[in-house]
Symmetry: C2
Subunit: 595 residues, 2 copies
């Protein structure tokens, strides 16, 4: 074979690694790593979403997990590449329970980062392509149940005559993506959606909302958007796609169904989930419960002293759907991150007089700039050279969170130079800009705090032009009957106030539905423990609680933007399927927030 | 370049052909063809679906069409292949109006068959991939109309404040595929569906119906079925897919809307189409009218003397949806083609006592056999080697109908041997089998008469076992109060009769909605003019009236099975788009049935 030298290097390393693991020589295995090394594993070794950092951590994990993982069959799946002395190669392997794929990055012949991810469970592979179901037995059958009769039987019976193995609370993109993965793995599941129709989580948003992420980043699993789909999807079009998806993927999707209560019986290993549906309470008894209520938990309101005296309307951004009743009115928007900007534009388009109250600096990036520089692997050009959405997802997942800031800082240094004129004009308008405490920009903010950034799709120009006014770096002292009093003594007249003040952590939803005790045991979701304001340590390595076992048995969190919902839905579903089939799933690593 | 000798041969031929056309040397061009040659053109040269047969025909067409087509840019699009002395190569080219693709097959250096097909109209290319719409202008805009507001505006206004360019009568797979193509080409169109929901054309079929064609053959344009879709799609699942497709493809799809009348004003060049919708009559004024009411026209009933005396129920197969009321009853099924078999099985599964009355022999092929031998280019294996559905479609279209029987005869000689035991048992049960008048089997029957065949998905076994009785080669003399009297004097007791006696030609729908005169001017649809019973000459070369200009200006027919609906929808849409844009479309060749 016509191998390049990078491939030879990668093959040699992989061969040595395979041999060390086969002979259970943990020392030899860890010797193959640099001192400053990382191994990110999705389920294959750890049955967790876990990043081991440093050789000692890798050593400990192998000692604990090697016997049960029993990895074999390591082989490169293509040519390696080499850039700036870093050799990168993709490979496949097997474990006792399944098959996996991964990526190795070497420097000077030793491993800098290793990425391993479970792809399938042996014996429980998804049926697609050559193994797709036939659909019918070509045989006359007096006992035939047609597809529609089977579907109706399943829909009528599930939750009534037989219980689902898993219940997913939340029927937005997260619940839908997970529902689809569970369906394809044959896990009986019900997705609970409080709204009347699948897709309403998008339809109910404010009028002008369009996705800020480009289409190649947003595909759902199994059925990608067609080639003529717009780059940026309008909210209602997204709603329609989700609605048809839930239907043609044959999800057991309960609309107008709200979970009111859930409790876990640790002896029975069963959840009791109360659902308010069509005027009555239905009780479901799944073995697993997934919270997929959105990247964010319940709305967060800030204290507004004197709110009782305020004569106008006060609403949270989650309640804001239509700006038309604010035409000609003065509206104060508290908050200058994504929601604050979007709501301000929508209000301005409705003819309101808008003032944005900015309490802390925001990282702003122009949409075109982000698309070109940050989303390159999710693009038409990338697809043309063979980087499918699936490959791009794996590429992203193969980079440990600890190493992200370095690359992001370079990116944002570049962005700041490139759009310097834009940033100067924005700052001149009184807007407080930053690029994160350590200058690592928007994506790190998203993972660390989920807040404090805006992908500019039009608001910044209005701010620059003074069409949207900004009061920056002020604190609100109290509300007056007709407006807002700031701590510097100045006042702002306001007929209405929209609080774009964010959301609580998703675990507060657990507090509402399960109990405070369980919510506290599980702890907050998201964040990396980077130490920046809003993301206190200790360092987590991966987002808290997301897509992996939590401190509460059989309680899971799924969610994130469309890309994260798509990618990690696979791993949540595999973990649940493995448990359903009795596959041993020894979890390595303590759950998030463990005391 | 590392070309094989077949490629060299093909390139040499193509170069000579290009030169002859460029220099308008029609003689030199036709000299490049064998005496027994064929050129099948979809729009590019003829603005028609037309097969020229023999050098004289090709000569005449070039004389007429070369000046307006002005073809250039001929180049091979891959390596040529060679099998049994036949060199095959694919190529692309341009015309004055558009871009095209095609296939050449050479024997001894001269052309046996040439296939050319228009792919795009210059300046009116579909917007997809790198040219997909952005979806939003990243700019605050007080005059913004959101996507959903634009859609609603279009839906409310089309047919009311502004007229569609095209109306499609029929919202099944044909109307839907065509609607999607027209949408992607920017042709304002309304699809009229008489049923309450998109997909009802499938849902309303009898309970046990499953598609007889495998999934790779059935994809709709733009959004293929996902990889886990079953090989054979149950009717209700197909209905759901069509329903979501019409929605996410943003078709202007009017449900519960029946066309009652249509007339053409040749001066205004406008149709007046009356539509009964939601209790009122709406008048549409499109420039083009497409009949997509199904591969078949109105139901065909056979005369049944004494029907008034018959005490039981008589229904046509199109009215048959549920067999359960016939449980325990004696039912006579008249007809032994697809419907006759399917209805018989459904009745048997419902517990009826079924006798199939077979008036003429049927071509039966086992589903597995057909899948393996006849559908090979539409399969997982084909896809794996790069034969996408699109490529398979082009491959099929590149074979002139005149040459199909030869290959089909070989195929059916093989099938008869392979399943000899099966056919013997079927014949022993009294079933009358044939393989077509010239032994060319099922597919030729489909194109020639649309009848007389059955893809066995279970009925034959019941016939063999005597579970479904067969009376073969008999004629019905009359009905009696309790059954059927045959011309040989025998009687059959029957509580009900289902006439699976086929359908009239689609042009009878034109007679119902437009006028007898126009229907007669246009003439029947389908059939090849092969001269076999049911398909009288003269030889047509391509199916009558389908997908091309008819004898009635601005009246079109679209339809066929899912594969034909998918493939030819593109060419119908291109013809309509070209007319909308004022592109010259000089049609070469008389319309079908021209006097």
């Amino acid at each position: 074979m016509h191998e390049n030298s990078a491939t030879q290097t990668a093959a040699a390393w992989l061969g040595a690694f395979a041999k060390a693991l086969e002979t259970k020589d943990v020392g030899a295995a860890t010797d193959l790593f640099l001192d400053d090394c990382y191994w990110r594993d999705l389920l294959a070794f750890t049955w967790n979403i876990k990043t081991l950092e440093g050789r000692a951590s890798i050593h400990d994990m192998l000692v604990a997990a090697l016997d049960s993982a029993r990895p074999t069959g390591w082989r490169l799946t293509g040519e390696a590449t080499s850039e700036d002395g870093l050799v990168e190669a993709w490979f496949s392997f097997e474990t006792a329970a399944g098959r996996g794929e991964g990526c190795l990055r070497l420097r000077n012949g030793k491993c800098r980062t290793l990425f391993t991810a479970l792809s399938d469970l042996k014996g429980f592979e998804e049926k697609a392509g050559t193994s797709r179901p036939i659909g019918v037995r070509h045989k006359a059958d007096r006992a035939r149940r047609t597809w529609s009769e089977e579907r109706r039987r399943e829909e009528d019976g599930l939750g009534r005559t037989h219980q689902p193995y898993c219940v997913v609370i939340g029927g937005g993109q997260g619940g839908i993506a997970l529902g689809a993965r569970l369906k394809q793995l044959g896990v009986p599941a019900i997705v609970l959606e409080k709204n009347a129709r699948a897709g309403d989580s998008w339809r109910n948003r404010y009028r002008s909302l369009v996705l800020h992420d480009p289409v190649w980043y947003d595909h759902l699993p199994y059925i990608p958007f067609p080639d003529h789909w717009p780059v940026f999807t309008p909210k209602d079009k997204m709603g329609d796609w989700l609605e048809m998806y839930a239907r043609v993927m044959e999800l057991n999707y309960w609309t107008s169904s709200t979970c009111t209560k859930a409790s876990y019986d640790a002896n029975e290993k069963l959840w009791t989930v109360e659902v308010y549906r069509a005027g009555e309470t239905v009780v479901l008894k799944p073995q697993h419960l997934v919270f997929a209520t959105g990247a964010y938990g319940p709305p967060k309101m800030i204290p507004l002293p004197g709110a009782d005296n305020f004569s106008g309307e006060i609403l949270h951004s989650s309640q804001y759907t239509d700006g038309r009743r604010f035409g000609g009115k003065k509206v104060a928007v508290i908050g200058a991150a994504s929601s604050g900007h979007d709501v301000s534009v929508d209000l301005w388009e409705s003819g309101a007089e808008v003032t944005m109250i900015q309490r802390s600096p925001t990282t702003v990036v122009k949409s075109d700039t982000l698309m070109e520089l940050a989303f390159e692997i999710y693009s038409e050009a990338a697809f043309a050279r063979g980087t499918t959405t699936q490959k791009a997802d794996m590429l992203v997942a193969s980079t440990p969170f600890a190493l992200m800031p370095e690359g992001q800082k370079k990116l944002y240094d570049h962005i700041r130079k490139r759009d310097a004129a834009f940033y100067e004009r924005l700052a001149s308008a009184g807007f407080a800009l930053d690029f994160g405490e350590d200058e690592t920009g928007l994506m790190m903010k998203a993972y660390r705090t989920g807040s404090g950034y805006y992908i500019d799709v039009g608001a910044s120009e209005l701010i620059i032009d003074g069409e949207i006014k900004v009061r920056s770096g002020v604190s609100i002292k109290s509300l007056t009957p007709r407006g807002i009093l700031f701590d510097d003594g100045s006042e702002l007249a306001a007929d209405a106030i929209v609080c774009c003040t964010g959301y609580q952590s998703m675990h507060e939803t657990v507090a509402q539905l399960v109990s405070r005790a369980v919510a506290d045991k599980v702890g907050p979701c998201w964040g990396l423990g980077s130490g920046v304001r809003g993301d206190p340590g200790p360092w987590q390595g991966d987002p808290r609680n997301m897509w992996k076992p939590t401190a509460q048995e059989a309680l899971w969190f799924h969610g994130g933007n469309l890309a994260l919902s798509r990618f990690y839905s696979k791993y949540v579903a595999l973990q649940i399927k493995a448990r359903m089939e009795g596959t041993p799933t020894p979890v390595y690593g303590a759950p998030s927030n463990a005391v």
